[in-house]
């Protein structure tokens, strides 16, 4: 029997299966690097540098131990004179003829990433929501020009403004501080936040807040009690985009911070073991660093397009 119910845009079963097959192959290939680095985090140092690369290996937490500690090599006699190890990680380190000297900087850098990421996200979404509401609802002179001005600030190469910011921050005492980085990332994120949130606010009917104002709310009150709760989805999507940017940012972090406020991206490349980079520790650090972003991506998938194009493309 001839199938006549098929709409002209729908492809035949075979071509659909072929498309699915090619896409699956692409997805598998494109995920190999990420999978590999996650696997490497669970390898021992020796197993991370074997050739041919080992796909099946004995899992080890050496990478994670190395990531969180600094170690010193000791002689056999010294190790034998020590009291027996109290923890599994001490035992692991001693089996490599080393002792733990102290914690590494990774935890601090990760904490900095969290503090700066959440701080900047909160500030940019809050300020962005205020501005977006004003642009969405009120008559503002030169509105389109102001909106374009806000967008254009994202086009400047970061290095072009890094030197002036460096000098300015040093003068006012914001150099290498959390607050300084929070303000900087807030500003970089603001353009995205304003553009995205304006799109979401435009979709909330004005009648809601007008009704509230007739009921006795002030404009401010209506904004906080009526409009913001309505925009929750938009705010969440915007927040995640701002978070991903601040979490991944590298250029400003490496140029403007050194000890106090440095985030994880400039730190991960500097994880070095004996005789070169410690790939299992880098794998471990990368994995811990990637997990939040992967979760966000899954949560975010419906808003992806709007976010990455400043709302220029609507799905």
């Amino acid at each position: 029997m001839v199938d006549t119910s098929r709409s002209p845009t729908e492809s035949s079963g075979f071509s659909r299966k072929l498309a699915a097959l090619i896409i699956i192959i692409y997805a598998v290939v494109t995920l190999i690097p990420i999978t590999w680095i996650i696997l490497t985090g669970f390898k021992s140092v020796t197993s991370s540098i074997t050739y041919p690369p080992e796909v099946f290996f004995e899992p080890s937490l050496e990478g994670y131990v190395n990531l969180f500690t600094t170690r010193t090599r000791q002689s056999q006699e010294y190790l034998e004179a020590l009291p027996p190890p109290e923890t599994w990680y001490e035992e692991l380190v001693r089996s490599r003829e080393m002792v733990i000297a102290g914690p590494s900087k990774f935890f601090g850098r990760y904490a900095n990433s969290l503090i700066i990421g959440f701080g900047a996200t909160f500030l940019s979404v809050f300020l962005g929501a205020l501005a977006a509401y004003a642009f969405s609802r009120f008559k503002i002179p030169l509105k389109d020009d102001l909106m374009f001005f806000i967008l254009s600030t994202r086009m400047f190469p970061p290095i072009a403004v890094a030197v002036p910011i460096f000098i300015m921050y040093r003068k006012i005492g914001l150099g290498d501080t959390h607050l300084g980085m929070i303000i900087l990332y807030t500003v970089v994120n603001l353009s995205l936040a304003v553009w995205l949130l304006k799109g979401f606010m435009d979709e909330i009917p004005r009648e809601y807040e007008e009704a509230a104002m007739i009921d006795g709310y002030t404009r401010m009150g209506a904004f906080f009690k009526i409009v913001l709760p309505q925009a929750t989805t938009g705010i969440a999507a915007t927040a995640i985009f701002c978070m991903i940017f601040s979490w991944n940012e590298y250029a400003f972090a490496v140029l403007l911070t050194q000890f106090n406020a440095q985030t994880a991206p400039p730190f991960i490349p500097t994880i070095i073991g004996e005789g070169g980079q410690d790939w299992s520790a880098i794998g471990a650090g990368t994995t811990l660093f990637l997990i939040p972003v992967m979760i966000f991506t899954v949560v975010l998938r419906k808003h992806l397009l709007r976010g990455i194009t400043f709302g220029a493309v609507r799905k």
């Binding site: 896409i23 205020l130 403004v161």
Partner: protein, 301 residues
């Protein structure tokens, strides 16, 4: 009339609220974005060194600009940047569009696969650069192993060889950002109304004709938009390449923005590097403007 009375009676006027809401954003942008930019432009006419703050700053006019434009180095870096942009944009356009066309055929698991394919794009470029140095490692790298598995080239070093290194960064950038082109093309494809195809079917247009006369023209503006965004980003490209090759070997992958960073933060030639930054900025703005005009013309057609 009635509305006005309500506003007067309760709280601030709308105009006051509008300015209270916008001012913090504008002030922050002015302080952290515009002020540094003006500062950089004015420094570009001086011989200022940021590591010698006590030294007298001398006005040198256009000397920095003349010096930069007169040097071979900047043209070399521009060429490296241009070829990096050409190959990444070309590959991302072809692969991204093809993937979008395939994903547009609605099959089972479509949404899950899209999410998985998009993952590389969400990662930190610097961290991506680091772990690709591991994959490219000539002794133990997985990339080298897989390539040699299919065809035995013997030992090769993607990062250490000046002929392969430019391709090393093109591959990583393409791996990371093809999903971006794909997503935007997919949005374009999904926005094509069904009746266009139905009308074409009535006119007995075959599949190929439908593709050439309906699908391609509708998706083209979206593809061009994606390439604009990628073009601007890749012109500024810094983090991934710094961590992957740090511009080497020699200067084989030293993109303009990497050289800019060296002048500004290693040699501390603030005046000189500010002039360099302004030149790069003007270049990207110029090209961007022309591109947008061409893009709008294509869209209007």
């Amino acid at each position: 009339m009635k509305n006005k009375i309500i506003h007067k009676a309760k709280g601030l006027s709308d105009r006051a609220v509008a300015w209270i809401f916008i001012t913090p954003t504008l002030l922050l942008l002015l302080a952290i974005n515009i002020y540094p930019l003006i500062y950089a432009i004015s420094m570009s006419f001086t011989n200022f060194y940021a590591n010698k703050l006590g030294k007298e700053i001398k006005w040198v006019g256009l000397k920095n600009y003349a010096k930069i434009l007169g040097k071979e180095a900047i043209w070399e870096r521009m060429q490296i940047t241009a070829s990096f942009m050409f190959w990444t944009l070309l590959l991302q356009a072809i692969i991204g569009l093809s993937l979008a066309l395939l994903l547009n055929k609605k099959f089972k698991g479509n949404e899950l696969l899209t999410t998985l394919i998009v993952l590389p794009m969400m990662l930190s470029p610097a961290v991506v650069g680091v772990f690709w140095t591991y994959l490219y490692n000539p002794q133990v790298g997985l990339f080298n192993y897989i390539v040699n598995f299919f065809y035995d080239f013997g030992s090769f070093d993607m990062i250490g060889s000046s002929t392969l290194a430019p391709w090393a960064i093109v591959i990583v950038d393409t791996w990371m950002w093809t999903p971006f082109t794909m997503l935007i093309c997919l949005a374009g494809l999904r926005s094509i109304p069904n009746y266009l195809y139905e009308a074409a079917e009535v006119d007995r247009a075959n599949r190929l004709q439908q593709f050439i006369y309906i699908t391609l023209p509708s998706v083209l503006p979206f593809l061009l938009l994606a390439l604009l965004f990628r073009g601007i980003e890749n012109f500024k490209m810094f983090d991934m390449v710094v961590e992957l090759t740090s511009g080497g070997p020699g200067s084989a992958t030293e993109l303009a923005s990497i050289q800019l960073k060296r002048e500004a933060f290693e040699k501390w030639k603030t005046g000189y590097s500010s002039a360099y930054a302004v030149i790069l900025f003007v270049t990207i703005f110029g090209f961007g403007n022309v591109y947008v005009k061409v893009m709008n013309k294509i869209k209007d057609r």
